[in-house]
């Protein structure tokens, strides 16, 4: 399962069938390899626990060291129901445990997800410790304290015509294998859905994911809850498997073990945790038993782990995949499309119908589509933008120029609401958007292409555009986890249209890393374009381009300007004068002058600003 590909090209259900086949074959094959049934059962439980964690970490990029809290919660709730509360049905108790864990996960996520990256990891560590403590002491009546809850029964089904009694060892295996299979099937659907696609976008570039219109926090919270649900179910199964729910399920070490197993097996593969658990448990038994290493088995494991993290980033599964790929290349060398030879843009793309821009809510005549009044931004003692009044009419192409340090990028950031102004207001299409979020603003129809490429680096060109288009078609948040990506209406159309507009149709399946610089810039624009914005901001679209690329890009910009409004910042004044109808000049955070390109060219103040007041005689 390749986490990097959104569009699953393998025949339908191949992975599911293979998994089912392996699970069915296991009890017949594994004993010959010396595997004890209880070990296999344990591996399944860890594998299930890890599926949810892999969705959280491998697919969404959130490294949580606190999964043990949810594992233990689900397990304790289920075990408590089955032992002290005398609840009769095992499966129902497991489901209740899972739901309880998901609910707790939601609450925990609200706290933990306020921060990202490393802060988030630290908070999850703290949460794991707190839960362990709470389980141990204040709630020990429910959890049995350090003794745990013994006497958890195994499932029994009376189907009328047959009685199924799963007790222990190989007898319990079918039940656990079935649970694991269900877990995998659901997980595969999730990662193949639009929801799953957005998760991956968040992993690669959360900033851009938000900027193209996705409610990043909502998705992260949903992923967290999913991971919690898997953890809770696995915890319940642990209790059933051992006939005993141990307190050490809550220990930080359990989280640590899960993280290590997933990294060893391969993150972002869904099966990584299963592989990692097999390696871990096998090594634990082998090193202690056969090699008689006693206590130092953990040292060996630690070293193996560090080496894997350093050299095999995608773990064992990733390593196998790379090996297979390498062998295939050796066998049949494929001509690689030369990355340097960027596909030229076909200039006559005017035949491609422009993407319909968002319907403008206010009449075309008279009212500007965007008006900023008194916009100011202060960073401590530094005044980046001071009292800017700025208005753009619908359909206009406006250029913004100014010497370095004029505050152009800051101005753009305020317009897209990436940064909140210190004072002033912004009105877009008649509504006040001051202080809103970049996601909301994008959904309203205002997007930006960035000066420094903000792409989803692990995805292909087509996948990048898909992410942006998904926000347009589904709104900023939707829990469509069980839907297939291929079933989103209008998605393919939108993606193809956008690609055609920027001339990247031929390169659609190339990963971003293999693109030429010019192509990346075009993709950058495509991302901003894919949501059919009414107002498109472009921050130095021509930066770093060769003369030929510039000409091509100017042609591109002209073609995409049809039916929408654009504001462009750039330093290439020749190109900008060609493109724009009006130019605004910023200097030192203020508007210096505004006018047509002709007026600006001959304006003395502008020349002084750029040249520092040299010879007036040189004015053209």
């Amino acid at each position: 399962m390749n986490a990097d590909r959104l569009y699953d090209r393998s025949p339908r259900f191949v992975i599911e069938l293979i998994t089912a086949g392996c699970l069915v074959a296991a009890p017949f094959v594994l004993p010959y390899l010396g595997a004890a049934p209880n070990t296999v059962n344990r591996i399944l439980v860890w594998g299930l626990f890890g599926i949810g964690f892999d969705i959280l970490f491998g697919y969404t990029g959130l490294l949580s060291f606190g999964q043990s809290a949810l594992y233990g919660t689900g397990g304790m709730v289920a075990a408590y129901l089955l032992t002290r509360a005398g609840f009769p049905h095992v499966v129902t108790a497991l489901v209740i445990g899972m739901v309880a864990a998901a609910a707790v996960g939601y609450l925990v996520g609200l706290v933990a997800l306020r921060r990202t990256g490393i802060y988030f990891a630290m908070i999850t560590v703290a949460i794991a410790e707190v839960f362990y403590f709470v389980e141990f002491n204040p709630l020990s009546e429910f959890t049995g304290g350090e003794n745990g809850l013994p006497g958890v029964p195994t499932p029994r089904f009376d189907l009328g015509f047959v009685k199924l009694d799963f007790s222990t060892g190989w007898s319990l295996y079918p039940f656990l294998a079935f649970c694991y299979f269900l877990g995998i099937v659901v997980a595969l659907r999730i990662v193949r859905s639009p929801f799953g696609a957005v998760l991956r976008a968040i992993r690669d570039n959360p900033l851009r994911a938000a900027a193209v219109g996705h409610n990043v926090h909502g998705y992260k919270l949903a992923a967290f809850v999913i991971a919690a649900a898997y953890a809770g179910l696995a915890g319940g199964l642990l209790g059933v498997m051992q006939a005993f729910m141990p307190p050490d399920a809550f220990m930080f070490e359990t989280s640590g073990q899960l993280v290590m197993q997933t990294a060893i097996g391969g993150r972002g593969t869904l099966f990584g945790p299963l592989v990692g658990a097999s390696v871990w448990l096998f090594l634990q038994d082998f090193l202690q038993g056969t090699l008689g290493l006693g206590a130092s088995w953990k040292l060996v494991l630690g070293i193996v782990f560090v080496l894997l993290v350093a050299f095999l980033r995608q773990g064992i599964i990733g390593g196998i995949r790379d090996l297979v790929r390498w062998l295939r290349h050796r066998a049949a060398p494929v001509q690689e499309v030369a990355a340097e030879e960027a596909a030229p843009i076909v200039p006559a793309d005017r035949h491609v119908a422009p993407l319909p821009a968002h319907a403008v809510s206010h009449g075309a005549g008279g009212e500007p589509i965007l008006r900023a009044s008194g916009l100011t931004k202060r960073y401590g003692g530094l005044l980046a933008n001071a009292d800017i009044d700025f208005a753009v009419m619908q359909g206009e192409i406006r250029g913004i120029i100014g010497p370095n340090g004029a505050g152009k990028s800051t101005f753009f950031k305020m317009l897209t609401c990436e940064v909140a102004p210190t004072s002033g207001t912004i009105v877009f299409e008649g509504s006040d958007i001051t202080g809103r979020s970049v996601t909301d603003v994008c959904q309203l129809g205002l997007t930006k292409s960035y000066q420094v490429n903000q792409l989803f680096n692990r995805l292909t060109v087509r996948e990048n555009v898909t992410i942006a288009a998904l926000a347009e078609l589904r709104g900023k948040f939707r829990l469509d986890m069980l839907r297939s990506l291929l079933n989103v209406k209008g998605l393919q159309e939108q993606v193809e249209r956008t690609l055609a507009l920027v001339g990247l149709t031929a390169r659609r399946d190339v990963p971003v890393a293999q693109l030429a610089y010019g192509e990346k810039r075009r993709l950058e624009i495509a991302l901003a374009l894919a949501s059919s914005p009414a107002l498109l901001l472009l921050d130095e679209p021509l930066a770093g381009m060769s003369p030929r690329e510039r000409v091509e890009t100017v042609g591109l910009l002209k073609s995409i300007a049809l039916g929408r409004t654009m504001i462009i910042i750039d330093h290439d004044m020749d190109s900008l004068f060609e493109l724009a109808g009006r130019i605004t000049v910023l200097q030192e955070g203020r508007v210096l002058v505004e006018g047509t390109p002709e007026e600006i060219k001959s304006d003395a103040k502008v020349q002084e600003a750029y040249l520092g007041g040299v010879n007036e005689d040189l004015a053209a």
């Binding site: 004890a36 003794n147 013994p150």
Partner: protein, 446 residues
């Protein structure tokens, strides 16, 4: 897991014979069997005894907070297995029917590191059961592990004798038909040491407790409080510290300011060492008397600085008992010969547990678990390293004395292991609670 359909072999007749002989020889409540068919497969029987050896699964902490005590226990088991296989005279004193091995079979064992975690212990023992067909499980230093293994034993129908386990619950509300405990525990410790310290320090004293925050700690503290209340002792503070706390300063300051006369430290393992050392540094041991109601093996040497001088403690065994009991002398001598130091009570507990199991099996004449259990419950008196003992059938707890010791001053120590002076050997009968007082309900035999 085993094939019960086999034509009668020499083995079956031997079993028959032994069964009959055993039934005739043993005393009280023992149902004589005639047919092998009365012993259907259960647990690892008869698969685990079909060869020339039987297997014992040992899950003991070799890393973590209790590693030191774990290693000592392990040596006790190892010595016991060696003696069983060779038919050592010491073993024969405790289990008179032992000749060589157990019922003629060699005893083998496997060791796994439980790190005092119930989950790891259960995992390891499950492997021993499925792969090695273990007929006996043992191991614990933490009562949490003992309780977990109790439950596992009952579910898998494989016998379990505890290692060190001090909580009342192990033969209390968490007792099982398939589990047995040799050593002393919270209730008996409190009941034994209570009168001693009341006699030493007088009535109506103020007590401060340092309690580790888990059920072992809480039950021992409670047992102490209940007994001492009858002599008018009041609790001025009970400082509950989490397991593995590195720094007891906050708790000790509270204790120092509490005005207590006596400090009862219920902490165990490394926590006991640390809290005692820090108590001394806060000047508490100069102001109050320290009492250790449940002694920790190697506390005295680890704590250092002769901090245990004058301290009263209750323990399961101390090597100077060799002067009082001939079997103790044999045990201590053999242990020291093999391992180079005097055994602590964990090792003694381990040795005795195995010996009692061997005795039960020999008397049952079979490894069939329900029969072995009944043999344990028969109430036979055994000679042990601390005199005569027996297993109480209502809760599978061994009725045995508690040893009250007092720490020696540096000057009085005759050698570098002479930490404790044995003051009293309090008989067990009077110390134990009524069999059903802690809610013990033994389960089924099968």
């Amino acid at each position: 897991m085993s094939n019960s359909k086999h034509s009668p072999t020499r083995r079956d007749f031997m079993r028959l014979g032994l069964g009959a002989a055993g039934g005739l020889a043993a005393s009280g409540g023992f149902i004589p069997r005639v047919f092998a068919a009365d012993q259907p497969p259960i647990g690892t029987f008869p698969a685990g005894v079909s060869g020339s050896s039987v297997f014992i699964g040992i899950a003991v902490p070799r890393t973590g907070t209790y590693a030191v005590q774990g290693e000592d226990e392990l040596k006790g088991w190892q010595l016991a297995v060696e003696h069983l296989n060779s038919g050592h005279p010491l073993m024969k004193q405790i289990s008179p029917k032992t000749k060589k091995g157990v019922l003629g079979k060699e005893v083998k064992y496997g060791v796994a590191d439980s790190a005092a975690k119930p989950n790891d212990a259960v995992q390891a023992e499950q492997r021993f059961i499925t792969e090695n067909k273990a007929v006996l499980m043992t191991g614990s230093t933490s009562s949490a592990v003992a309780v977990a293994l109790n439950k596992l034993a009952q579910r898998e129908k494989v016998l379990y004798v505890t290692g060190i386990s001090g909580s009342n619950d192990t033969t209390g509300k968490d007792c099982v038909r398939y589990g047995f405990r040799q050593n002393f525990y919270g209730q008996t410790a409190a009941a034994a040491i209570g009168p001693v310290i009341v006699k030493a320090y007088g009535k109506n004293k103020k007590v401060a407790y340092l309690t580790p925050d888990y059920t072992y700690g809480h039950t021992v503290t409670k047992s102490c409080q209940d007994y001492l209340a009858t002599a008018g002792w009041t609790t001025v503070t009970n400082q509950v510290a989490p397991l593995g706390a590195p720094d007891y300063s906050s708790y000790l300051l509270n204790v120092a300011n509490s005005g207590a006369d006596v400090l009862i430290n219920v902490n165990w393992g490394h926590d006991a060492v640390l809290s005692t050392q820090q108590a001394q540094r806060f000047g508490i041991l100069d102001k109050m008397k320290l009492v250790i109601p449940y002694q920790i093996p190697f506390l005295a040497p680890e704590v250092g600085n002769n901090l245990t001088a004058g301290v009263y403690a209750a323990t399961d065994f101390w090597w100077t008992l060799e002067d009082k009991f001939p079997l103790a002398k044999m045990f201590v001598d053999e242990f020291r010969k093999k391992f180079g130091y005097n055994p602590e009570w964990g090792a003694n507990n381990a040795y005795m547990s195995f010996a009692m199991w061997a005795d039960a099996v020999e008397n049952a004449g079979t490894f069939y678990p329900p029969d072995v259990i009944k043999s344990f419950e028969a109430g036979r008196k055994l000679q042990s390293t601390v005199g005569e003992v027996y297993i109480r059938k209502e809760d599978h707890q061994c009725v045995r004395p508690v040893i009250i010791v007092q720490g020696k001053k540096q000057a009085e120590m005759k050698n570098k292991e002479d930490f404790w002076n044995v003051l009293e050997i309090v008989p067990g009968e009077g110390l134990m609670q009524k069999p059903d007082a802690f809610g013990c309900k033994l389960g089924d035999y099968t």
